[in-house]
Symmetry: C2
Subunit: 317 residues, 2 copies
């Protein structure tokens, strides 16, 4: 995967994905002592950057497919379901039986067929492969796929095209689809830009992988950043990150909550915990921010009642 | 006050006030059956449209003023304090002793001198006049002032200039500064556009005034739309609204809460209760929305804990 793929992805999603706005904040700039440019993927279709990759993957499928399948209980599920509806490609989504009703309902509402599985009985990958073979479906995994990586890279491409070159670009990281795609765009469009990936402390497999140069894993980490609970970086995303990223760091859940509060109260932006990772790393001094800094707010899908509980607790950490 | 004043205000605030973005929502359009353009004043400086009028008024003051004074416990207080800091004009703000600490602190942080008064002992107007005379201060009231009206009118001016003419423009209404200013802009820039003002049910003095053509009042109405608890329209704002507005309607607090939930959950926008009035009127069918419809989201200053308590209650009404 290289920037040529990102460029093609941008052409495919043009006019379908939202060209999300770039927000700025005098208050945040004052706190940090840098000029921050916030790429607002919370305003993307389905409320997260995931739509970019999903739509790119489906619009790049060869003709005559009987459909696609994925396993996700998060934003990728809804993104793939919507992309399927828009392209006329049937989508099957494998979700655990304990997935929140609201996520199952949203995925169905976007037109996806949801198949629930019992975590104690099987793994989603195993069930996914079985069903995909039975039905002749193409598997589109949540991040470790060339078209997904290229699609997510359009996020940083748009940011550079709107605000110009940056000194640093800070990106939330789960499986590394967004981070690796953004690395490709930064390398092509702002070669001096340092790209920094951010994980939650409990799910710091990527940080450890980056520093040991060996793929590390984590099992079902306990963090509010639900988009970053992935077990490891991918076989495709890891090498790109290793080659092009400047650093990877992690932040505490308490820092994420404080940052969400800032984004909601001061910037009037509803951002989910995973979406606040990059700014949390800036506020906490984990990611050095000087000069012109891009901050990707990756999504805004959060249950209001759950957010209430987060904000109600005293700020710790 | 006429559109010439709005035009001059736009020149004065240019580069100081934020040119707020216009949001759209396929979901909202689908629900309503119209094309909605949301003017996002929640992203304005101090979090509400009030900065436009305050800055316009202060930058239009003659030289040699010893300072300005206002009475407000809401967004106008913070807006005037910030405008004073930016123009170098000292600001004195009269607030009730029971004003929320957070609002007093925010006004002080923007550089305003806060004087607290006891509601049982005096009225804010009376105390304001006394202090203004003693200190030689110019009173800048929250809405009934030519420069305030003209400043608020720049909000609709920007909207029309960005999206073109509209069939309907729906505007929250408290004392009518925003509504009257927007009427002037609509009349000049989109003459066929029907302007509709929206109040909370409990504070429907403007609705009654509009339909009886006689200024009506309300006393301390019980509504979550704290920006629309004003006792009446103003001597300047009422005639403009009577002349140029197409209708005035009111909505229930329950409708406001449902609409806030939509704005936060689906559009990822933090909007305060008063800021949600216009969309609530559309969703509730009180304001007829067909064709191209402008919806002003007037502000986003809301205590998160208080907002989340609203969302926690079962949706009624």
């Amino acid at each position: 995967v290289d920037f040529t793929d990102v460029h093609r992805a941008a052409e495919r999603i043009d006019g379908v994905a939202t060209k999300t706005p770039v927000a700025t904040s005098r208050t945040a700039d004052g706190i940090v002592g840098a000029r921050l440019f916030f790429k607002c993927e919370n305003f993307q279709r389905v409320g997260a950057f995931k739509f970019r990759g999903a739509y790119n993957a489906l619009s790049n499928l060869s003709q005559g497919q009987s459909g696609v399948l994925t396993y996700s209980s998060g934003n990728h599920a809804q993104a793939l379901a919507l992309a399927g509806s828009l392209t006329g490609i049937p989508t099957t989504i494998i979700m655990p039986t304990d997935a929140p009703d609201i996520k199952v309902a949203a995925t169905k509402a976007y037109g996806g067929e949801v198949i629930l599985y019992d975590k104690d009985q099987t793994t989603r990958e195993s069930l996914g492969r079985t069903i995909a073979e039975e039905r002749g479906l193409t598997i589109i995994p949540p991040y470790d796929h060339p078209d997904i990586i290229a699609g997510q890279g359009t996020c940083a491409k748009e940011l550079f095209e709107e605000v110009g070159e940056l000194d640093t670009l800070i990106v939330p990281c789960g499986g590394g689809g967004l981070l690796s795609g953004c690395c490709l765009s930064a390398h092509a469009l702002s070669p001096g830009c340092k790209v920094i990936g951010v994980e939650p402390d409990a799910g710091d497999d990527g940080v450890r992988s980056f520093h040991t140069k060996t793929l590390q894993t984590v099992h079902n980490p306990d963090t509010i950043a639900d988009g970053a609970r992935t077990p490891s970086l991918g076989e495709l995303t890891f090498p790109i990150i290793l080659k092009h990223a400047h650093d990877m760091v992690s932040v505490s859940d308490a820092a994420i909550i404080r940052t969400m509060r800032f984004l909601w109260e001061r910037m009037k932006l509803v951002v989910e915990p995973t979406g606040a990772l990059a700014l949390a790393a800036v506020f906490d001094g984990k990611a050095k921010a000087t000069g012109r800094v891009g901050v990707i707010l990756s999504g805004g899908n959060v249950d209001l009642a759950a957010a209430l509980r987060l904000f109600a607790e005293p700020a710790g950490g």
